[in-house]
């Protein structure tokens, strides 16, 4: 327990309250979408009805890679990104690196190869075009984009989410400092007291349990937001006279003498099979540097091994397909900085132990949403009898906290209905905007906050229950087909939506136990 003097405790209470109230609503939006994005991959498979289970890296690709390499202009053979896209199709992005507006980008040709080895898509563009929203991943892409940059243009969106991360860091640390009875508070839930005290206890218990998680998320989140926007240019300025490409090469490159002699790329199928056997998992991503040259290098990236936190990456000689070494994710050999940087991603995304760690991250993320919502409610309750009225803020708080899940569910509904027609990239954000407009409209016309909360909860519950039905109506695979194809995640998400929506509707049917005894909260409460 930390015992700050009264004056400092008062300052920390003010910092805790204002850090939440000034940016709390935006922070809530980032945390809600981040919580959902923990299951982005699963939501992608659920929404698009993906039923293929054999990875593109388990299928032969060596001949296709060589053929596409031959027909791609030499200027785009500087590097190749190889990854899975759509329903386990193979994505190959031949590209070169360029500086555009002070930012390092990739430009080249992108091919999608289906399970039969046929090229089904060709596209010229930059990394933004290749990794942006497509018809079958529009919902997943929308969720991730909302979380990462709130759909603001670069770099402003990343800077904003980075600042939100810092405000969460402040709220977490100040929350720890103002706890006078930390261990007692973890287990204190007074059900028999007033509604205010019960809310305060719930905020305190959820906040205290998720405190380490909030700290980790805020720290890693602000790291990711500031990494490319501020950090890399500044460190490149100091260490390399502003040469961002030189910094990137120093951190991610594979050192060695250049050998530009032409050489056919080695057998990629042998590399894939060897990498899967060594790492014990399918690659999540593969990069080929200096494609078609004697000094070509292939790096395969894999999820962490059992009981490990850092992802695995393996280095191969591209021309001979011979295994060279297990290399750290960052830097040519293991180092403190490289290891710390490598664990930032699994710590933030919770993807280091499969569905179990993702479920824990989802639960703790949900607790963070609850802490943000109840924290703002407590701040408002304390000022109910003040000179200034904050009724507008209470209404706004409710519209955002209950309306945002509704708008997200509306975007999912729009995606499910629009995907068969090929309009999902347009309709997914449009569905979100329609849902948001309905929630805001309800906030404007509702006679009071109690009624507004009732309307929004009812809408949230009804739409969540409707999602699995919409998926089936839109032509998505049924439960039997999904299970037969080895995709139980589709069934699991259907059940999760039905349970979540059903519980909300069931709760609304129960009489409220809340009592309205006057309660005076202490400063640290």
């Amino acid at each position: 327990m930390i015992h700050l003097p009264k004056h400092e405790t008062k300052a920390m209470v003010a910092v805790h309250g204002w850090s939440g109230i000034l940016l709390g609503l935006l922070l809530y939006a980032v945390v809600v979408t981040g919580t959902a994005a923990v299951f982005a991959e699963e939501i992608g498979a659920w929404s698009a009805g993906h039923v293929a289970t054999r990875s593109a890296f388990e299928r032969p690709m060596a001949d296709t890679l060589r053929e596409l390499g031959t027909e791609t202009p030499a200027k785009y053979r500087e590097a190749v990104d190889v990854f899975e896209t759509g329903d386990h199709d193979l994505g190959l992005f031949f590209h070169r690196h360029e500086m555009a507006g002070g930012e390092l980008i990739s430009r080249g040709l992108f091919y999608v190869v289906n399970g039969d080895g046929r090229v089904i898509h060709r596209q010229a563009g930059t990394n933004d075009d290749v990794y942006g929203a497509r018809n079958d991943n529009a919902l997943r892409s929308f969720l991730v984009d909302t979380h990462v940059r709130l759909h603001l243009p670069n770099p402003w969106g990343l800077l904003l989410t980075g600042i939100l991360g810092l405000s969460m860091l402040v709220a977490a640390i100040s929350g720890l400092l103002i706890h006078r009875h930390l261990f007692k508070d973890i287990f204190t839930l007074r059900r028999s007291g007033s509604a205010i005290l019960a809310n305060r206890d719930a905020h305190s218990v959820a906040g205290t349990w998720s405190l380490p998680f909030a700290f980790v998320l805020a720290f890693t989140g602000s790291f990711f937001s500031f990494f490319g926007t501020v950090g890399v240019p500044l460190v490149a300025m100091a260490a390399f006279g502003g040469n961002v490409h030189a910094l990137t090469e120093a951190i991610y490159g594979n050192p060695g003498s250049p050998d530009p002699r032409p050489a056919v790329i080695g057998n990629m199928d042998r590399i894939n099979a060897d990498a899967i056997a060594r790492a014990g998992a399918i690659p999540t991503f593969v990069t080929i540097e200096n494609f078609g040259r004697a000094d070509a290098r292939v790096t395969t990236y894999h999820p962490p091994k059992a009981a490990a936190l850092a992802p695995v990456s393996l280095l191969y000689d591209g021309a001979t397909a011979v295994f060279l070494q297990e290399k750290p994710l960052i830097g040519p050999r293991p180092s403190t900085g490289g290891t710390l940087a490598a664990i930032m991603s699994p710590l933030h995304f919770g993807n280091f132990a499969g569905l179990l760690s993702k479920a824990i991250w989802f639960g703790l993320g949900f607790a963070m949403c609850y802490v943000t919502y109840t924290g703002m409610r407590l701040w408002l309750v304390r000022r109910e009898d003040g000179v200034r009225s904050f009724a507008w803020l209470e209404r706004t708080n409710m519209v955002v906290c209950l309306g945002l899940p509704f708008a997200l569910a509306a975007s999912a509904a729009a995606f499910l209905l629009a995907m068969p027609a090929g309009n999902a990239p347009w309709w997914t954000p449009a569905g979100f905007l329609i849902g948001a407009a309905l929630a805001i409209g309800a906030g404007v016309i509702a006679p009071d906050c109690v009624r507004l909360g009732l309307w929004l909860r009812r809408a949230d519950g009804a739409l969540l229950v409707a999602l699995p039905l919409l998926r089936l109506v839109a032509g998505g695979p049924g439960w039997a087909a999904a299970l037969a194809a080895g995709q139980p995640i589709i069934v699991m998400l259907d059940i999760a939506f039905l349970l979540a929506g059903g519980r909300m509707l069931w709760q609304l049917g129960r009489p409220s136990k809340a009592t309205h005894q006057p309660t005076i909260l202490q400063p640290a409460e």
Partner: protein
């Protein structure tokens, strides 16, 4: 100094001051941190530690009762790291693309 002006000075150190100094420290650290086994620690650690440096400066500005000490720590860090960066830029001979190792 009046209570109000002390509060504003503290606010300046905790708000814009903490951001500016954290950025200067992040850039300057790349010049004095050792490169480590892979020669990249001086480049990567400042990027990782930046949010924590900012949080440290912010809470120090909020919690230290002695405003003078807040100013000395913050301005000292700024001065040292700004001087390192300035030295790097003025040193034409060393202005190659080679990183500090």
């Amino acid at each position: 100094m009046t209570v109000t002006s002390r509060r504003w000075v503290r606010f300046a150190f905790a708000g814009p001051g903490a951001i500016l100094i954290a950025l200067a420290v992040m850039a300057g650290m790349a010049l004095w941190l050792p490169g480590g086994a892979a020669g990249i620690d001086n480049l990567v650690l400042p990027l990782i530690l930046a949010p924590l440096i900012w949080a440290g400066l912010f809470f120090h500005a909020c919690l230290d009762r002695r405003l003078g000490r807040v100013a000395i720590v913050a301005l000292g860090l700024l001065l040292v790291h700004a001087a390192l960066i300035a030295h790097k830029f003025l040193d034409k001979g060393a202005a190659s693309t080679e990183a500090h190792r």
